[in-house]
């Protein structure tokens, strides 16, 4: 790809990118949120048409004008956002657009058989090809999507953040698969914000920043620090800042919590002002459900929740009023109202005090979120810009800004860094640290943070204590200096 450029209205997503991928290599494409990685790959797959620039496949000019054209040329892509048809079966999803057929009729038997084969390759032997995709878990859906790329003979496979909702076990399987494909001479472009993954699986890398190529190299020869520096354009020292924290009184107490829908089965925790409590666990362990139960988004079967010593009958509006804020792991379907402005999204949970006599004025809404736009920071045109015009990472920051605007004492953060780049992650960690520490001089009390994450290094880096959830049961609390990744994984898999 040479000099590829693409603009979406006023946003310049790509400003002339060069990328070269050799046959049979795994090539990492890295960069901050909004750097243009997904856009570049969509151009490659034919889902977007670049404004300028050229592409060559095996030395021949290549101009796919539809995803079908891209696929016919041997380019397969797994998109960042889940892209399955929830009402169709696994087999129908996998063969969507490339159904084997005689005349207008489908070859149902063949579809079924080849689906089984593809699923077996990624270790989903027991999944019924006739299962309706909408009923599967996120992780399984992600795997089905990977299977979709395996169903035809591709020469170039693009994986856009394939691991963002996979467990460690599934990631291992995926890597094994990638190696097999590589040995067959298939080229792979691998996009991820997890630099260990990049180090483990890729041969070479290209770094994008602000829609431009800012560096490339051989992965093994380049220290991680240097890659990060290329990505953010500066050094990121001290990724996980941790200032001196002095835990205060207990602000959130949960005991024997069980959800009506089955998860969590039993969760007990207590959280003090000025500390960060991490919750680790495997995908599907029920951490999200626990958070949703505490916040009143899922029904509670039994157990008690106390905030500031007084019982809380969980319900979102009561939560916000009592100073409990929740950040959803799924910003697309739950976290944000994307047609609405940044100001609306930030202030929605606390509209009080934004105008005279209980009213809300747009000016006040914008003024109220302006400080957070600066502080976090959110890259945007104006506070009145719709959230849909932001990149994924910046959208996530808007969702975080909501908790800050609401001035919560207890922040429940479910995967707060999912799908955001290293630079932004560092800012989020710094923010969490600042919150936990408070600012006595300016009269800002320390906050309590409950952080759910599937990414152990960040839990270990930011938290004071960690509790592990396994099959719906939340384990004992461990001080951060008395535990490590290995112990946590043992507990999470139920081996401990």
């Amino acid at each position: 790809m040479r000099g590829v450029a693409k603009a979406f209205g006023p946003t310049i997503a790509l400003a002339g990118v060069d990328l070269e991928v050799a046959p049979g290599e795994v090539h990492a494409l890295i960069g901050e949120n909004g750097a243009g990685k997904s856009t570049l790959m969509k151009a490659l797959a034919g889902a977007h048409q670049p404004d300028t620039g050229e592409m060559f496949l095996d030395g021949k000019p290549y101009t796919p004008d539809t995803p079908a054209a891209g696929r016919d040329a041997g380019v397969a892509m797994i998109y960042q956002e889940l892209s399955l048809a929830p009402e169709l079966t696994v087999a129908e999803n996998i063969f969507l657009g490339i159904e084997p057929h005689i005349g207008p009729f489908l070859k149902l038997g063949e579809m079924r058989r080849r689906t089984k084969e593809a699923l077996a390759q990624i270790g989903l032997d027991d999944l019924d090809p006739g299962a309706i995709v909408g009923t599967l878990s996120n992780a399984k859906q992600q795997l089905v999507e990977i299977a979709r790329a395996l169903i035809f003979d591709c020469r170039l496979l693009v994986l856009d953040e394939p691991t963002s909702s996979l467990t460690a076990k599934d990631i291992e399987k995926l890597f094994k698969l990638i190696r097999t494909l590589k040995s067959r001479g298939i080229s792979i472009v691998y996009i991820s914000h997890f630099l260990e993954e990049i180090n483990e699986i890729t041969d070479r890398f290209t770094v994008l920043r602000d829609g431009q190529t800012v560096g490339k190299g051989v992965t093994a020869d380049t220290p991680t620090d240097q890659i990060i520096a290329m990505m953010v354009g500066r050094d990121v020292k001290d990724l996980y800042p941790r200032s001196e924290r002095t835990p205060g009184e207990v602000v959130l107490e949960v005991s024997g919590l069980a959800g009506k829908l089955g998860l969590p089965a039993n969760a007990t925790l207590s959280l003090r002002r000025g500390e960060v409590l991490g919750v680790a666990g495997l995908m599907g362990a029920g951490r999200t459900e626990m958070a949703r139960c505490i916040f009143g988004l899922d029904p509670v079967r039994e157990g008690t929740i106390k905030v500031g010593g007084d019982p809380l009958m969980p319900r979102p509006d009561r939560g916000w009023k009592r100073g409990v804020g929740f950040l959803s792991e799924d910003r697309k379907t739950e976290g944000l109202a994307t047609e609405l402005s940044i100001a609306d999204n930030t202030t929605l949970a606390r509209l009080a005090g934004l105008g005279p006599a209980g009213l809300v004025t747009p000016g006040n809404q914008a003024r109220a979120c302006q400080p957070w736009i600066k502080k976090i920071p959110i890259k945007c045109f104006s506070a009145h810009a719709p959230v849909s015009s932001l990149s994924g990472g910046n959208q996530q920051k808007v969702a975080i800004a909501r908790l800050l605007h609401a001035d919560c004492d207890v922040l429940i953060l479910d995967e707060p860094t999912r799908g955001i780049d290293v630079g932004s992650k560092a800012q989020v960690y710094k923010l969490i640290d600042d919150l936990a520490q408070g600012d006595p001089e300016r009269g800002i009390a320390p906050k309590a943070v409950l952080m759910i994450s599937s990414y152990l290094p960040e839990l270990l880096g930011t938290c004071d204590r960690i509790q592990v959830m396994c099959r719906g049961v939340l384990g004992e609390s461990h001080d951060i200096d008395k535990t490590d990744e290995h112990k946590i994984m043992m507990e999470a898999t139920g081996a401990a």
Binding site: P10, L297, S328, L336, E339, L340, D344, V360
Partner: protein, 392 residues
Amino acid sequence: MPDAVATQNQKDVLKTLIAILIKIAPFIGLIFVWLLFWSQLGSRFANVPTQTEILLQSTIIGIAALGATIIIIAGGIDLSVGSTIAMVSMVLAKILHSTSMSPTLAVVLGLLAAAACGLAIGAMVVGHVGRVVAVVVGLLAGMIWLPQQGLGLALSIPIGVVIAVGLWFLAGLTIRDLKLAPFIVTLGMMGIIRGLAKMVGVYGNEQASTQITPSRTTWIDKLNAFQNEGPFSFILSYFPISVLLFAGLAIAMALMLRFTKFGRHIYAIGSNEETARLCGVNIARTKILIYTLGIALAGVAGVLLFAKIGQGNATEAVGYELAVIAAVVIGGASLSGGEGSILGTVIGALIMQIVIVGCIKMDMDNYVQEIITGAIIVAAVALDQLRHRRPT
């Protein structure tokens, strides 16, 4: 570098210009249509009586469309609006005809009837189908079935209440949260409310009829009239009360949408209901309120219909639902929710009315009018789509 700054400045100017254009685009459509008919008809069109007539004729659809706007912004839809308008006109006429109740009270009861329909629709949309059924069955038993069996109202009404309360709790225990798509609920309610409107003409009448003409003359009859006397004649001689009511309600609704929590919640629910729930918005209560208020506004339109035709008529306002939705959508609202404005709706209603009046004044055949109206709907939305494009 200075070059870059200059380009940036130019860009900013361009952006501001485009932003302004986007804001005023519906106005442009309105002005375009107006000029079109002016160019064809000259002073036969551009005269005060015609313009007032356009305003006057747009009030019923217009006010109903104000209600539909908040429903559509919240991601809903209301197909029952025509039936509600007819029903309210019947309720009002029935009260004025058969009782000596004050007209003001009658109007209030008429609006309450509309609001009750809205409440029922909202309740079914948010999942309280069981409760709605409970109340309806209780009402039917207490007010119609038991009295028919010869029970006095003094006994039958308490029994009806007991039945309703019992079913309410039974429903709560068995089928909770049965959320229904508003399209379906209001499609069903369209028939039900129309039937109820006709029932009003049957209930307790010596002679069933779908029309009720009350014998009294009240202030309601003056709503559509130009008033050349009285203290407010300086304005009422130009604009009848119904036009002022339309304007007043439009302003009130616009302010409500822009400057109140409820208004912001309406947009939030339409844009992403899950997010609104997460942010502590009481979805069920807000939605019920939206439908109640929205359909109460259809009730206001029903009062105006009564004022206009001087009778309650259960077969009027057929098909208004689509005209109302057309007005809202021409005004820039999206049927998937989260977008729309009161100003847009008012302009949408006016555009439709100008086209109707203009076509008649041009003495067009009916079929030509139908084709043109249809084409205008498509064209207006196409233009709206164009201006929604992110400016390049």
